[in-house]
């Protein structure tokens, strides 16, 4: 009786550990579901949207300009950001807003990325705290799951910031 109870308990613990480890590996190396909050990525992602973020391209260093990424905040490691990658290391970035008279430019340092929200008026991003280390990126948002009527891949940047910088680098 006691032995069978012990065996069952051990088996249960073993299965729990095994499936916990499989879940950890899946969330760490394949992808995870994220609920976005805040206005900074409107109109691409609005408040309370559920997106799927895949982790492989971050581990393989395949993040490209124009991808939307989930990153840890540089000032609070427990908080996550959802922004668009505007420039990779070595890119020339326009740091001023679109309506400013005097354009100011900067270069993204080595091992960093430049993140900006799509809602330029209401977004705290690299324009206020500078470039973000690449290793803080957690994953690339590749699929929007909820609400259902906007299911699918995400649209291009509405703000023309990327084409502008490409034009500059050419």
């Amino acid at each position: 009786m006691l032995r069978s109870l012990l065996g069952k308990t051990l088996g249960f613990v073993g299965y729990t550990v095994q499936y916990g480890c499989i879940a950890h590996c899946t969330f760490e190396y394949v992808g995870e579901f994220v609920i976005c909050s805040g206005p900074s990525m409107e109109p691409t992602i609005v408040n309370q949207d559920i997106v799927f973020s895949e982790r492989m391209s971050r581990h393989l260093c395949k993040i490209q300009t124009g991808d939307i990424v989930i990153a840890k905040s540089p000032f609070d490691p427990n908080m996550n950001l959802c922004k668009r990658v505007i420039g990779l290391e070595g890119d020339k970035i326009c740091t001023s807003g679109p309506s400013d008279v005097f354009k100011s430019h900067t270069y993204v340092p080595k091992g960093h990325v430049w993140l900006e929200g799509d809602n330029l008026r209401n977004s705290t991003d690299s324009r206020s705290y500078g470039p973000v280390p690449y290793a803080l990126i957690r994953g690339r948002v590749c699929l929007k799951l909820w609400p259902l009527h906007s299911f699918g891949t995400l649209s291009e940047s509405p703000t023309r910031r990327i084409t502008e910088t490409h034009h500059d680098s050419d």
Partner: protein, 256 residues
């Protein structure tokens, strides 16, 4: 009857080899061989039922199983067929054990502890005191940094902000809000911003640390070095200790 089935299987395979890709040929051939064997040998049919659809998947994935079955086909005796079934069982056990061992190992390395070799002279004399002749191996405790809690004086490993592929091992000098007297940074005094810390190697001047790239975000923290585990005569727990003349400014004022 057994001979007839096998002959049919061989003929079918020969036809297919001329047309199709190798793996699909293998699959079809195995299915034929198995059906011919199991028709004649009832003892093996029980095995086939016990294995279920998983057996076919394993056979499809692994080429070794194919070679086993092929040898059984060239000498179709019940003993060989049983050996094939035993081999398949071994393979299944191996695959399922593999699916347990790999996630558990990865999770332990990610969450609990990690073992790393220290390279370079930047942490002399705490680590690598003999220079390049012998590298220390340290145990990085990852469980204790799961909430990004570190103390001043801890030796931590951090993902390098310059190169995300590289990890650096340094000592924490100041936490967020501390005032630091820098050594060769562009500003003489620095206040460490929120969510950052100031890290330095013990070997000043030979270390690429916060004096080069400024305060480092706590989110880049990878682990805390808790023990030196190799070489064995240097086995020791690493205690948090600040170098005598380094540290946040108010602490120095209290001392002097």
């Amino acid at each position: 009857m057994r001979g007839l089935g096998l002959w049919r299987a061989c003929a079918r395979a020969r036809d297919l080899i001329t047309k199709h890709h190798h793996t699909s040929v293998c699959l079809v051939f195995l299915r034929e061989v198995r059906s011919s064997l199991f028709l004649t040998v009832p003892a093996c049919e029980r095995h086939a039922e016990g294995l279920g659809p998983g057996a076919e998947r394993d056979v499809g994935q692994q080429e070794e199983a194919g070679s086993h079955a092929a040898t059984a086909a060239s000498n179709p005796r019940p003993v060989m067929a049983q050996q094939t079934a035993a081999g398949r069982r071994c393979l299944r056990a191996f695959v399922s054990g593999f699916f347990v061992a790999v996630p558990v190992t990865v999770t332990v390395l990610d969450r609990v502890a990690y073992v790393a070799r220290v390279e370079g002279a930047s942490m002399q004399p705490s680590l690598n005191p003999e220079g390049t002749s012998q590298c220390d191996i340290v145990l990085l405790n990852r469980w204790s940094v799961r909430n990004f809690q570190v103390q001043r004086g801890d030796i931590v490993s951090v993902v390098s902000p310059r190169d995300p592929q590289q990890k650096i091992i340094k000592r924490v000098i100041g936490l967020e809000g501390d005032f630091i007297r820098t050594l060769s940074y562009k500003n003489r005094y620095v206040r460490v911003p929120d969510g950052h810390f100031w890290i330095e190697g013990d070997h000043h001047g030979h270390s690429l640390d916060s004096n080069n790239f400024g305060p480092v975000s706590v989110g880049l923290l990878h682990g805390r070095a808790s023990h030196i585990i190799w070489p064995p005569r240097r086995w020791a727990r690493i205690r948090a200790s600040l170098p005598p003349n380094r540290g946040p400014l108010y602490a120095e004022e209290e001392d002097g």
